[in-house]
Symmetry: C2
């Protein structure tokens, strides 16, 4: 079985790839496990990580280019579509966002349709499909109302994947993801990148900038939960998914102040001092436009779990990323 | 002032054009009336109608072709985007629907953005953006859930027009239209075309086919109301519209049986005998997937009116289309 991960060298792509290689097989609901013969990680920025596993092929390229995508998608059975220009980048460069997030997706969908075997596709969407004046709690039935170009492009992606699935061209499912925290690695151009930085950097005695007010609420999910959700969304049968192709995921609502309090509880009073509070109205505006509380009942019914509390997320990050414990106790 | 109507030789396009030429000016909310210097009717099928008004230019062409659209959109200030591959046609030919309804729209939007003067755009959308299991009454806050490719493409159009407006590239507004009945002229490839045929043809002692059950509910608006809404949506200022760029229009909920009863009341007992009842599960499925009852409170607050009852719609059709009254009384 050949698998393709677009954005495959990004951090979620890597985690999904690692998990797949560890298991070595894919067990789709209702089917016997089947071995993975090839895993293509397709990304415009392949990064420095060296993959020694012979099943892995890293391909650098542009997802909006038909020839390239035709080559990487050839005879593929399973696709995770994680490639995206993130929120602040898509807001700053409209054309770049449209090119990758819209033309890239339509190019991928047309290529998969042409294969003719109805490949299974997990498409990463985002709660940025919501914005503006929202109900107190966003539910599975809340109307899309993006207030960023990134959110608009993600909403369009959900619609296209649903229609290509309804037409039988692919077997797609959209995962609507919360802000992922704590992301490993370096800050990116997502407006939400600071949600990870303000914990990740102080845990390493490095400076971090917080552009949002302490009372700002964010809706988050850990990398572990996100990776688990990626695999679960793939495993679920067509029948379990049903005609509605979007699965809005559960997450945790937490304030920036609570996050910093957890940082202090875990790593001591020195840690929060690495945070520089530097309000940025542009970032604050984007963050404030996203949902704060979510009732993800459909996902819960389908078995998608979430993190219990933010402290658990911080402790998992320390464990997964082997953060040296410089603080006492 | 130069005006462009895409799908301009279609029946709503024609009605809007006639109205504009009669008035001769455009009075945008808050501005003094300005004369119309040029009115471009752009359509792949220019039809047989001869326009004698020197302000009118009919251009035949493909909306997905950048050079053509650049030419017709040059220095335009106002655009009605009515061109579309309709529901059954977009369902039967997926590529054609995507080409016109998605690539055509993005081509138009990019061309208008390049003009740099933020043209005002009224984009025709449809209640086909809803489908499947819907609440008893669809409101302004009901989540998009298209179950046809046409509905998917219309939903994407709403999102794109909203984002291009938010970015300041255009000043757009989406009108979400009910099924228009009674359409003059001939049946088209909309799944809903019979909703007009079963009244229009018997009024002319011509046969019509009804593919839906008599108890089927439809949500309709008259051509007069639709044309009025098109003009009102254009006239409203940016400020009246606000950040939410979609205006779901009010309409009438009526059953096919009630429509036929009105036909009999207006044109006598002979008229309904011209209807052949011939169930078509494919059409029934599409029609059943659309909303039945709508609470369009935002549109009503903005002054959009609707028809009082179906009999008024039938009588207006007879008057507007000068239908010869062959029936007694």
């Amino acid at each position: 079985m050949k698998i393709l991960i677009t954005g495959g060298t990004g951090f979620i792509g890597k985690q999904v790839a690692d998990q797949l290689l560890r298991t070595g097989t894919v067990a789709l609901e209702g089917d016997a496990p089947r071995p993975i013969s090839k895993l293509v990680l397709f990304d415009p920025f392949p990064g420095e990580h060296v993959w020694t596993d012979p099943r892995v092929e890293v391909v650098a390229g542009d997802i909006a280019d038909p020839q390239t995508v035709e080559r990487v998608a050839e005879s593929v059975e399973i696709v995770w579509h994680l490639a995206a220009v993130v929120s602040s980048a898509a807001e700053a460069d409209f054309d770049l966002g449209m090119q990758t997030n819209l033309s890239g997706l339509t190019n991928l969908l047309e290529t998969l349709r042409a294969i003719g075997t109805r490949p299974r596709v997990v498409n990463a969407s985002s709660y940025a499909v919501f914005g503006g004046e929202l109900p107190h709690t966003v539910t599975d039935a809340t109307a899309l109302s993006p207030k960023t170009s990134y959110g608009t492009q993600k909403a369009i992606g959900e619609l296209l994947v649903a229609d290509y699935s309804r037409k039988g061209f692919i077997d797609g499912r959209n995962l609507r993801l919360p802000t992922i925290a704590i992301r490993p690695g370096k800050p990116n151009k997502a407006a939400s990148t600071f949600v990870s930085s303000i914990i990740r950097e102080p845990l390493r005695r490095l400076p971090a900038v917080c552009p949002a007010r302490p009372d700002t609420l964010v809706f988050v999910s850990s990398p572990r939960s996100a990776c688990e959700a990626m695999l679960r969304a793939m495993n679920l049968s067509d029948r379990s998914i049903g005609p509605e192709r979007t699965i809005p995921l559960p997450g945790l609502t937490v304030s920036i102040a609570e996050m910093v309090a957890v940082l202090e509880r875990v790593a001591g009073p020195e840690a929060p001092q690495y945070i520089e509070w530097k309000p940025d109205p542009q970032i604050q505006r984007i963050i404030d436009s996203w949902p704060l509380r979510v009732d993800a009942s459909r996902a819960r019914a389908l078995g998608f779990a979430t993190d219990r509390n933010f402290e658990e997320i911080v402790r998992a990050h320390i464990e997964d990323e082997a953060v040296p414990r410089w603080w006492r106790k």
